[in-house]
Structures are given as C-alpha cells and as structure tokens.
C-alpha cells in the first residue's frame, strides 16, 4: 500500500470492522470493492484521444467507437462484480508447522449452482498466490502458504481474493480473514551434544510390550499374526509357519529436561528440544518432556510427539 501509515492503520481498522474474521464468507455487495485497473485507466486515455479525433474530424463513427468502448468499460464493472459475487470461501484448517517454514491453510471455495466464476486469484501478497476457476466444478479445495516467523499460534492475515475477469479493465477484490489459528512449533535446531538425561538405570532394557523395531525371537505361528511377519524361508524348510516377533526396549525412559539444558536463551533451548523430540519420535525412542510449566510422561507415538511439540510451541506464551 502506498498510503501513509496513519491512513493504512485506519484502513485496516475499517476493514476489520467491515470484514470481521470468520470461517466462512460469501462475497456480496458489502464486501466487494471495484476500481478500474491500470489497463482500464489506459482505456480512458484512449477514449479521450478518440473523443478528440471524433470532434475534430466531425466523424460520427469515431464517436460510436469511443462511446461503445465507454459503455463496455462500464458494463465490464458489472461483469467483474458478478464474477466475484456469490463465491463462498471457507477456511478448513491450518496444518501445524515449524517456525521459519510455511504455514499452510486449506481453503474450500465454492459457488452457487446458478453462477460460474473464472480467474479468481487468492493470495497472501508477497507470500503465495493461486489462480482458480469455479466453472467446471461446484467447489474446489486449495492451499495457500505463508511464512510463519515465530513459534506459537499463527494467526493468518487477511487473504486477498481478486479478479479482473473478463477483460482486465476493472479489478474487483475483497478480503477474507479466516478465524483459525495454526500451531507453529519452534524451529528445530539440532545440537551436537545429546540433551537427554537418563532418569534411573533400572528400567533400562525393560521390554516394552510387542513393539516393532527390534527383532526378538522366532515362535510358532498364532492365528492373527500379521502376514508380513511370517518367516517364509523357515516355512520352506520345515513346512511349518513361524512368526518373527519384535519388541521395543524402554531405553531407560529418556527425559528431555528444560532445567538441565546447557543452552542459553529460551528460543534456542526450545529449538534444540524440538529437534530432539523429532529425532526420538522418528526413531521411536520413548521419551518424556519436562518444561518449567508442564511435564509430559515418557511415551512414543505421533500423538505423544504432537503433544510435546505443542507444549514447546506454546511455552511461555500467554495462551496456555
């Protein structure tokens, strides 16, 4: 925007009032702005030239061309408006992401059955944009990405939706402020020194149920064993079905403890912890997380990981 700051702020406040955040919005008169585009303004220059020609040569047909283009220019505004009116945009979700990576919002754009829409641009200016049409389908799902610079909640800025259809002489645009937030985990930065501290040695080596990572033993097939684990080579030898069984070991309940980190700075600590959480989860190593405000018991699995990451993301922020 080329507006001075004070005006820019007013404009933003006015927009907030006019187009409050919500998860679904259907564009109509109240929320669509239209102005002539650059080529529209160029057309007006051409029209003045034609007008001068028409006057000077007293040529009726030049007048006709001039006025016809003028009428087209006016009519085009209605077309451009119609191309946007009735479009419904719905914010579905924002996938969690890491700081300094892209937060991705999923949107569903749909139309009324009686109208078709062409060449709609959805964009986060300077971040991402996508050109869609809503004619061959009733609704379409798109994603739009935006750099999430800080951990915590990503509050998506207003999404600009615009169109210059059909002739590009006018531009209609509006904003959609999704009432969603996305989690932004700390940026994972791996440390050279291990962070984990062993809690107590006695659980080390304890077998944790039927896992999947380490080979344990070969035993007779029992009904219900997964077919991938049947030892076919053995079957070929003996003619009997054997199953390979696996276990996970609780490698002495590793704790990631905030207070025992040898790193300066909250964000750097969080980043290091984040990287470690990801590494343990990827290797299916059970671990626990101790933060000043929160303790998460050792476990493995995706939901455990997400819980830990969320705790890291929101650490020290006023939401939790």
């Amino acid at each position: 925007m080329l507006l001075p700051n004070a005006w820019e702020q007013r404009w933003q406040i006015w927009l907030d009032e006019r187009l409050p955040a919500k998860n679904q919005h259907t564009f109509a008169q109240r929320s669509i702005f239209i102005i002539p585009s650059l080529s529209g303004l160029a057309l007006l220059v051409l029209l003045s030239l034609l007008m001068i020609l028409g006057i000077n040569f007293q040529n009726s047909l030049i007048y006709v061309v001039c006025f016809w283009l003028l009428a087209l220019f006016v009519l085009n505004v209605l077309y451009t408006y119609r191309n946007m009116a009735g479009v419904t945009i719905k914010a579905l979700r924002i996938q969690p992401c890491f700081a300094n990576s892209k937060a991705v919002i999923e949107l569903e754009i749909s139309r009324m059955p009686s109208r078709t829409h062409w060449n709609l641009v959805l964009e986060w200016p300077e971040q991402d944009q996508i050109l869609i049409e809503l004619a061959s389908c009733q609704s379409t799902r798109i994603t739009l990405s935006h750099l999430a610079s800080k951990r915590g909640y990503f509050v998506p800025p207003r999404i600009k939706i615009s169109t210059t259809y059909p002739t590009g002489l006018a531009r209609a645009w509006s904003y959609f402020a999704p009432d969603l937030t996305g989690l932004v985990y700390p940026e994972p930065i791996k440390q050279d020194t291990p962070l984990a501290s062993d809690g107590s040695a006695e659980i080390e080596g304890k077998v944790l149920a039927e896992g999947g990572s380490d080979f344990n033993e070969m035993r007779r097939y029992r009904a219900g064993d997964p077919i991938q684990r049947i030892h076919w080579a053995k079957y070929a030898q003996t003619g009997e079905l054997y199953t390979k069984s696996f276990v996970d070991y609780a490698s002495a309940a590793i704790w990631l403890d905030w207070n025992q980190l040898n790193i300066v700075g909250t964000e750097r600590r969080l980043s290091a912890l984040c990287a470690q959480v990801l590494e343990f989860s990827a290797n299916q190593i059970p671990f626990g997380l101790k933060l000043p405000s929160k303790t998460i018991e050792p476990a493995t699995g995706d939901s455990h990981r997400d819980q830990c990451l969320k705790a890291l993301a929101l650490h020290g922020l006023p939401y939790e």
């Binding site: 040569f57 009726s60 006709v64 003028l70 119609r82 999923e106 009324m112 050109l131 590009g168």
Partner: protein
Amino acid sequence: MNKTISYSGMLWLLAAQFIVMLPFIMYLPWWLMPIMVAAVIWRLRVLKGYSAQPSSLVKTLLVTIGVGGLVMSGLPFPSLDIMLSVLLLGFAFKSLEVLTIRDAIIVIFLGYLLVALHFLYTQEMLAGLYGILGMTILTGALIGVQPSVTVLNPLQTVRSHLKLAALMLLQAAPLMLIVFFLAPRLPPLWSLPMMPGQTKTGISERMTPGDIADLTRSTELAFRVNFKSTRPKQSQLYWRGLTLNYFDGKTWQQLPEDYDFINFKNQVKGEYALNSRSVELRGDPIEYEALYAPSGQPWLFTLTPALNVEGEVSRVADYRVMANSINQAPILIKASSYPQSVRDLKLSHTLRRLASQLPLGSDPRTHELAQKWWRESGENVDQYIQLILGHFKREEFYYTLSPPLLGDQNTIDAFLFDSRKGFCSHYAGSFVFLMRAVGIPARVVVGYQGGKWNEQGKYLAVHQYDAHAWVEIWQPEIGWTEYDPTTAVAPSRITEGLDSFLEQQEGLLHQSFRAMQNNLPWLSSLTQQLDYLQYQWQRWIVGYDQDTQGNLLREWLGDFSVKNVIFALLGLFGGLALIWTVWLGLWKKPKLTVEQALVSQFDKVLAKQGFQRNPAQTMRDFIKQVSAKRPDLSQPLQQFAEYFEHYCYDPEANKTQTLKQLQQVLKILKRIKSTQLGRNIAPLRPSRISEG
C-alpha cells in the same frame, strides 16, 4: 503470476491484428500488407517453435526497411496517411515481440484506435459492420489474453471468449446509443491538415468532352431527396451543381483562372455572390430536404433557383449552392425551389463577359455554321435554337458513353462535323459554343438529372450515373433559360433515366448488376430496401450532427425544461440499469442448493444449542461429538443424519417427503431446551493482530 500470454491468447491477437489491418490496404501503400502478413507468419512460426525469436538486428533491419519504404512512397508529410502507415507498421512489428500481457493490451488498444481511424476513410454501412467485427475480435482478444486457468480445449476457449465478447458488446450497445444520441456535439477544436483519403467523387469542375468519361457508370450514391411538397416530374429534376463558363478550345472550366475550392470560396462575394433581388419569384415552391454523401467537394445539388436554404451553405451568383466546407461527412440541407421564377433580368457586365467568351480562332467550321443558321432564323433566338436541336435530331447524331477521341484542337468542329457521337458534355458544349458564336450569353451547367424513386422510403436517390450536363442561355427581358440539348438526340435518357436508355441503345450493361436488377423484381426490391437502410444509416448515424440532434431532442422532449430533461435521463438510465441487472442475472440473490440450505439450517440450530461445528468436520463426526455431551439430542440427530444422507445420496428417495421429515427433525431439535451443562466452552484464542 505468469505474465506471458498463452498460445490461444497469441492466436487471438494475431487474428485481431489481421482483421484490423486488412481494410487499410485499400488506402495505404500496398506493400504494407505483405510486411504485416510476414510479421504475423513469423510470429506464428515462433509460436510453433519452427523459427527463433527475431534478433534485435533483424528487427532494426525490418523497421528501417519499413520506414524507408514509407519515405520513398511519396506520401505527403505530415499527413494522416503517413501517420497511419507508421502506426500500422508499428502495429505489425509489435507482433514480432509480443510476449507479455501488457504488450498484448497495448496492441489491442492500438487496434481499437485503428478501427476508429478507418472511419476517416469511409463511413459506409459496410465499413461500419466491418468495424463491429473488428471491435468484437479485439474484445475477444482482450478477454483471451488475460491470465486464466485452462479447463477447455483451445477451440472451445476461443469460442467461449468470442461469444462473451459479442454478448458484452451487444449489452453495451444501449448505453452507447444513449450517449451517442445525447452527448453534445462540439465544433472542431482546431483546424486540421488535409484529411486522409481525400478522394473526390462526383462531378468534376472541368469538362473535356474529347476525353472519355467513365463517371456515368459509377453506381455510387450522390444524394437523397425527401420532398415535402409533391414530387416533380422526372423530366423536371435538373439538380444544378455548378456552371462552366470558360472554354479553351478543349476543356470547359468554371472561370478563366483555375481556382481550387478554397480560392473559389474567396471569390464568392460582390458580383459573384447571389443577390436575392435578381430573382423574381413565380409559381409554387418545391420543398425538399437533401442528404448529400461525402464527396470531398463543396458542391451541393439543388433545383434552380433554390431559395430559403437552411444549412451551412453559401449561394453563388450562378444559382449554385455550395457547402462552406469540403463535404467530408454527410450534409443535410432544407431548401425550397421556385422553378418558374425569372432569374437575372439584368445581367452584370462581368457575368455577361464570362458567358460570352470563346477561344480565338478555333473551330472555324462551327463559326461558319452558326452564322448561316443565325441568318436563316432571322436572328430570332428561339428559331435559332430550334434549328440547332432539329439538326441534332435529324442528322446522324448518336448518344454514346464511349465516343471517339476528338484531338486537341477544333474539338467542336470534330464533333459536329465528323464523329457525331457523344454524351451530354459533347452536346452541351457544342450548344453553348453555337450560342456564343452569335453573341448569345450561354454557359454549361453540370449536376445530376433525375434520380431513382425509392417507394419504400419515399425518397429520391440520385446516383453518380445520373450525372449530367446541360446549358442555360440568357436573353434580355427573359433572363436565364435552361435547355437540354441531349434530349434532342436521346429523349429517353431524360424521361426514363440512363439505365433504360443504355439498355435500349447499346446493351452495354446487360451483363451488369444494374441491368439484372431491372429484370428481377425481387432483386430490385432488395436493392431498394438496402438503399433505404443506407439512407437511414447516413441520416441517423453518419450524418448525425448538432442540428439533427437538436431536432430530435425537440421532437422527443417538447421543450428543454429541467423537469423533462431529468425525467428523460432518469427513464433512460433507469431502464438501462434494469435491463442490465436482469440480463446479467444480478437481480436475483445467488441461491443456495437445498443441501447447502439444510446444512446451514442445521448448523444454526445446533449453534443455538451451543455446538459450533468445525467447518472441516463431517456431519456424522460432529453428531457423535454432540451426542456424547448431550444424550438427549442424540436420537433426533441420528435421524437427521439418516434422512440427510437419504436425501443427498439415495437415488430412489422421495425428495419432497424426505425434505418434510428433515424439516420436522430440525423443528424438534430447535424445541429441545439447551441445558447449561451441555454448553461448549469456547476454546481460548489469541486475539487478532494484523501481523501474522
């Protein structure tokens, strides 16, 4: 965003360029067209990948050749012709480098400009239709070059763009017409250099009977006349254009000095301007309105003598009426003529001298003949004229449009004694010569004779082939009298018109269109209808000027009171707005489908109960979640889901009945009291800040 234009956009552009440039070959140097075609073909090859993008060296070379060619072409500089040629060259060469959407839009706008500029050369109805074609293609191109998602194949895309362009122009037309008819017409802001394509049509200011004329065969329209009073007989329709006084032995011209139009206009004062006192009005007036096609000349054609002429005209002492400027656009005048009047009982010295001039020593045989007849007639003017006309009638004189050449000297002798074949100019010229030879002031009048009556439009259409030359002689006490010596040779030329005359005489036009339409009644009526359309076109579109506008508005509004004007404007623009909203389907609110409406109703009812559905959540999932917290809602919710799925997905469902059931369930859900317990607690959210 991708700013380069798509393949179909490029095709659009090339088509538009071709259509726009095509008609200019008729007016500008012919070699412009091959250059344009070459540019277009090169561009197509680049698109197809056969050729490389022309290097800047090649482009510089092309531009040099183009500009050099223009310099060599000898077009006057500065002139609109040369400006247009440069514009066209640029337009053609631009296609060699069009890549971005912005470039494409520049080309398209240039195209619109060229469509308009073409009307400086011609404002015919056909040119107008061609202009509409150009506008449509250009608008299609404007739509076609916009960045877009491709879902259709190129052909479908082009077709849909073309359809949209045509529809938009059609819908824009009413507004265009309103503005066209209502916008005030201003006088030219500054005077202009020569108009482009200033070709003169119609009669010439010089008449050289010894040269072959082909004017008579042109079927172009000269003017149309609407009679307010009864239509005079065909044989009385002598439309005076100008008079030729000076004869140099070969060529007749207006005055001894060869004036061009601007200088001639400066002469029209004093003795040369018409003094209305020199006319003695007699008889009933013929009132008419004449609409002249642009001719590149100032001459207008009226019945003699035309008085009370309304319009931007001057009147000259020889009773001609001329426009104050060169006739570039159709011009409309109203006039009343009094054919029975007496003109110039007294002839001024200058005019008498002009009407008596003869070249020294030329045509001795004709002089001898004149003296002989003058004596035979007893120096009686009427007798003398009868002798001459009788001679034309009795002797072997022929009317023909392709007479033999008469040489450079003694052309009158050559015609009267040797060839005896000629058309109106020959007869008129010799007649005036014979008059002057015995001292009777006489002059040649050129203009048109007759015209074709259009029954449908109730007007007379005068064409170039009606061009004619006749004479008038001056006698004391009587003034000027008009004679048409051609009637002596070919009376049907006047009474029946040139068409039928030529058909009888020479069979010349038997193969031609004109002869054909005379034999086919339906063709004749078709051409009449076309001519009528042309007339309306000239009258209401091309010739629509300040005067016409004033008359039209007075007719519609009565008077220009503020109230009337406001009502008229409100009516027009209100009507237009209504038409547009209905036509574009903007009047009805966009409707939800039944399914969408049901979901939105359902969400609303449950929101009242305190449950907000996550937009990404499925209905089933949501119902499960709600039922867990509010078992009392579980049963109707389950029912709703079932009916809903039934409604949406079961092809055999009874839609109306299911809909009724669904609405009933919704009613039940609404009636169940929400309990405080069941209320969802809204999750804590960060407040909105403008920076992500």
